[in-house]
Structures are given as structure tokens and as C-alpha cells.
Amino acid sequence: MGNQRLRFLGVVAAAMVVAMACGGTSGGGTPAKQYKIGLVTDIGGLNDKSFNHLAYVGLENAKKDFNIKDDVIESHNGSEYVPNLTNFASKSYDLVIGVGFLMQEAVGTVSGQFPNVHFAIIDGAGTDASGADLKHPNVESLFFKEQDAGAMVGVISGWLEKNGKAKKNQHVIGAVGGISIPPVNHYIAGYKWAAKMEDPSIAVLVGYSNDFTDPAKCKTVAKAQIDQKSDIEFQVAGGCGLGVLQQAGQSGVYSIGVDADQKDADGSVIASALKKVDVATYTAIKNVVNGQFSGGALTFSIANDGAGYSVDNLDLPADLKAELDKVQSQIKSGALTPPADIPA
């Protein structure tokens, strides 16, 4: 079915190219043009249980719906970013996707060399060495309002504490970040802000493991917070953060997953804050296939279903569900705006 629709699209596209004589993408004359999409991971690799993996999932989903030739290169160290992006760009791929803010400078460099190739970058823009956005028209920057997702799970945590529906109900919750960088802090900012909104008496402990891969380090940080009466532990540390979920399970408190739905990671996971990197990747590919690619920033938030939450191992009380729906619609409408910086 997907193929038929695509063929139809292709015919339409071909007709449009002839009619308007303006090809959004080069080539595109044959009825079923095959789009070449190249994905370059950062040093986390495809199995990072975090955004690299989600980007790959988005690519595979797009492959089901569109006529795509998908290729992946995993970067093993940072000096490979430029050559790996160049590899796809030099072969005239229709879209080259760089995953992660670590690749900003590399995307900035390579997109300048190949103005006719489309680029997309997760969590960043194509920048120069000073970190300033070069605003190349062939680069789509895929940003996320992590604070939206953080706020939703913050609502859950605050509500449970206020209403005595958590485990210890001491009005203390915690968050364990990987490194204190913007994407991590956005999550924690929304979480703390929303939890305080629900339960003004709540204390939110914030700690960092300085690591994204080693679960043992995050586990120690989570343990320390739980020892300080934390009742619900939010992990914002990728693979390292799995240790947080684990520790919560062993200490008999609740935990909250991050990025993807981490329901299966541990029985203690009551919810996950979702940053839909897969949706963003899919959208970037869809835009290229449909000739709707546009340079500049695309922000994924609750408003466009690019961020959100999932309820996992928890029977959601009806009152809480109502509260969540209310806050979600208020964020959508702009009546509430979760902060990007961690509130005091």
C-alpha cells in the first residue's frame, strides 16, 4: 500500500516538476524516485539506548512508508564527524542526518561545502567554531522542548506526592542528569517547575553523574537521593540513567524514564518523558520526500506531538489523568510555558 501511494506521489511530483519547472530535490523524474538517506551517529553509536537509537528507529519507520535507500555510519570518535557526513554528501544523498549536538560544527562545515545536499541535525544547528548558527538554507535544525516532556512527568510526580499516592510521600523527589548541558537541564527545568506547581511544598533534588554510559555511576547518585527521602527518581542520563531506574526498583520507590518509553527497563518506571527523536527524523525525511524541506529550526514540542509522556507501570488515577490533560492543553495553547532553565 505504501508503495502504491508513493508511486502516485511520484507521478504527481513528476507532473509538478514539469509544470512548475522548479525541482525541490534534484533528479526526481522517474515515477518512483528512490531517496538516499544517510544517518551519521555521534560517538554513542546505534545502541546507545538514547537519541542515536531513536533516530535510527525514525529512519526505519520512514523506510516502511517511503521508497528509501537508508545507510548508516556510526562515528567511533569525534574526528570522524566531518568525513562521515562528507561521505554521504559527496555521493549526493538526498538527506544527510547528523545525530546530536556534538556534531553541530561538523554539520556547519559540510553543509557549506554541499549547498545542494539537504542536512538535518538532531538537537542542534549547523554552526561555526564559535557555536553561532550559520543559518545555511540547506540545514534543518531539529530542536526539542524537553521542558514540555519534563513538565508532564513533573505533574505526575508532584500530584502523587501532594495526594499521598506515592511510596513514602515525604514531598521529596529527585532527578539525575548526565552532564549539566542544555538538553538535560531543559528536562529537569520542566520537571521541577511542574512538580512545584502541583505541590508547592515539594523539594526537588538534582544531581549529575557526569556520565552517559555507566549505569553504576547513576545508580550511586540515585541511591544518595533516595537516602535523602526522594520518592520518585527522574533519569536524564541515557544509558547511565538505567541505573537510576534500577535503584528505584530496588529501593521500592518510583522512577521516570527519559527520551523513549522505558516501561520495560524496570518495574518501578511509572512514566517516561518522551523526546520523539524518531518522529523528528521521520519528519525530516518526509519533508525531503514531499519536497517540503525548509532550512532553519523545527521545534518539536507538545504542541506538535514531538514531545510528550507515556504512562507506564502505574494505574493512572482519574483525577491525575484530568490534571495531565489540563496542563497539556494549557501548554499547547501557550497558557503555560515550562521554563528552559532550572528554576530556583
Partner: protein, 316 residues
């Protein structure tokens, strides 16, 4: 001043020491392996790779079999298998032991991620349920002791095993004939050979033991502390264990003290929210301390005499 007071207060909490002991055990097991291997005269810088291999195969086995004890056995064996490569290459083929150790570490890092791609692909490595993990074991009664109960009697089963192994390795190395022979082989292999001791068998045994211990540490990390495999999850612990072994002057209890110091650093950082020292400077500490010890400022640290020298039968 208040920050200092907070840290002092922190040092008196049982929670801190409980975390310290758990973190130390992850280093202690490979460090003990290093002690045994180097006492027999085979330099071993490959604990990192052996531990990573154990972690990976432990998770693979646990996901397939849903039996944590079998999975732990698989992890231990996988570590041992990796070590036997080191043994064959450096004892049988008399290769340079450091080169072989580096090769093991590169091999393990490459192989595990390569296999993750091959085995799990898009699905990614799955997670294990609590029942498939190495359990915590509280000693009824004793765990209620003030302070000590929390630190010593509410720990993962591997922590107790590691402490028993610590004593065992010490006793075997310094109180038995076998230990005497191992040390003789590490100090004067030719004299040991003349005395009828089989240098090769002892060295093989020692190197493979180091792999078994590192494999157990890998299992503890992946299916005890964590519940899945993350690429490179050992995160340099094998090298910190190496530092601990040297810091501890090639003795089991010395290494244990070093592991406790390094573990304490990790635990203090995790438990402390008042002092804002750069975590990166803190991470440097184990290595700086080891350099200081090596410099002889805190007493000399001298390896076994024949450490690193391949043995050729009949040579002097």
C-alpha cells in the same frame, strides 16, 4: 566552613559507606585478578576488556535463559576465555604481555559492540526483570545493627562473594604452598623450574583466574548493578583496578584499601550537594594518587621481579 562540615557529617553516614563498598567491589574483583596474574609474572592490563566481555555475555545469556546464576557462570567463563587468549599469546607464544593486553582491550570493545549490532540490531539490547538479576542479600538480624548493618549486611550477593574471595586470595597467595609457588614463579621462574614447579601451568592458571574474576565483576556490573548491556559500560574500571593493584603494592588487602579510597571518591561525589568541585578534577584523583605512590612519596611500590618477562624453559 559549612561545606566542610557537611562533608564531615556525610562521612559519618552509613549510606555513604554502603555505596563506597559497592563501588569498591566493582574495582576489587578485577584488581584481585591483576594481583594473581602479576604475582605469577604475567603483566595484565587487560582486565578492562575481560570485564566488558563478561558483562556482555552475561546479559546475552540472562536474556536468553532467564537464569541469573547460569548467566553469571557464562559471564565468568567469557572473562576466563578472553584471559586464556592473553595466556596463550603471552605465555605460549611469549608475546609482549603489554601488547597482548592492549589487543585484548581493543578486541573486547570492538567485538561486543559488533555483536550487539549483529544480535539485537534495531531491537537494541533488552532489559532484564528484577528476578533475573543478582539479588541483594540482607542478613536477618545483623542487618539491623546500627551503621554496620547497613554497610556490611545489606549488600548485593556479589559483594559478600568478593569479600570472601579477597580473604581467600590473600590466604592462598601468602599462606599456602600453591601461593608460595605462584610467587616463586613470579620472582624467579628459572629457580622455580629447577625446583620442579611447572611455570607454565601456574602462569596459565593465574592469568585465567584473573579473567574469571574480571568476568564476575562484569556480571555484577551488567546483571547486578544494571540490568542490560550498554557499549563500553565498564568505563575504564579495569584501568582503575590496575591502578588499585599498584597502589596496593600487589597485595590483595592493599588493593582493597585502594579500591575503597577510589570508591569513596565516587560515593562522596554522588552524595554531596554542597561542595562544587569540578567532577573532572575529582575523576583525576585515582590516577594522580597512584602516580604519587609510584613516585615513592608514600613508600615504594615494586612489582614482582619477573613480572612481564616471558619464561623460556632452560633459560637462566
Amino acid at each position: 566552613m559549612t561545606a566542610l562540615g557537611d562533608v564531615l557529617h556525610l562521612l559519618l553516614t552509613a549510606n555513604l559507606w554502603q555505596a563506597t563498598l559497592a563501588a569498591a567491589v566493582l574495582l576489587l574483583l578485577p584488581a584481585l585478578g591483576g594481583v594473581i596474574s602479576e604475582r605469577s609474572g604475567v603483566v595484565n592490563i587487560a582486565m578492562e576488556g575481560m570485564m566488558l566481555t563478561g558483562a556482555f555475555f552475561g546479559v546475552v545469556a540472562d536474556l536468553a535463559l532467564h537464569n541469573v546464576w547460569l548467566a553469571t557462570a557464562v559471564a565468568i567463563l567469557a572473562g576466563g576465555l578472553m584471559a586464556s587468549i592473553h595466556a596463550v599469546v603471552s605465555i605460549q607464544f611469549r608475546a609482549d604481555q603489554i601488547v597482548s593486553g592492549i589487543a585484548i582491550n581493543i578486541f573486547a570493545a570492538g567485538l561486543t559492540v559488533f555483536l550487539v549490532n549483529r544480535i539485537y540490531g534495531l531491537q537494541d539490547v533488552g532489559h532484564l526483570g528484577q528476578s533475573d538479576l543478582l539479588p541483594n542479600l540482607d542478613f536477618p538480624g545483623l542487618d539491623q545493627l546500627p551503621f554496620l548493618g547497613k554497610v556490611f549486611f545489606q549488600q548485593n550477593v556479589v559483594v559478600y562473594v568478593a569479600l570472601i574471595l579477597l580473604v581467600l586470595v590473600h590466604v592462598v597467595l601468602f599462606r599456602t604452598r600453591l601461593g608460595l609457588r605462584i610467587r616463586a614463579v613470579g620472582e624467579h621462574p628459572s629457580a622455580a623450574d629447577t625446583a620442579g614447579i611447572n611455570v607454565f601451568v601456574l602462569r596459565y592458571g593465574a592469568v585465567i583466574s584473573s579473567g574469571l574474576l574480571s568476568g564476575l565483576a562484569g556480571a555484577f556490573l551488567a546483571i547486578g548493578v544494571s540490568n542490560t548491556f550498554v557499549p563500553n559500560m565498564t568505563d575504564g574500571r579495569g584501568y582503575i583496578a590496575l591502578a588499585a593493584m599498584i597502589f596496593g603494592k600487589w597485595t590483595p588487602f592493599g588493593a582493597f584499601v585502594a579500591c575503597l579510597i577510589f570508591g569513596l571518591g565516587e560515593a562522596v561525589y554522588a552524595n554531596n550537594s554542597t561542595i562544587h568541585i569540578s567532577p573532572y578534577l575529582l575523576s583525576m584523583l585515582p590516577y594522580l594518587l597512584t602516580l604519587i605512590v609510584l613516585a615513592g612519596i608514600v613508600g615504594r611500590s615494586t612489582p614482582p621481579a619477573a613480572d612481564g618477562l616471558p619464561y623460556v624453559a632452560g633459560s637462566e
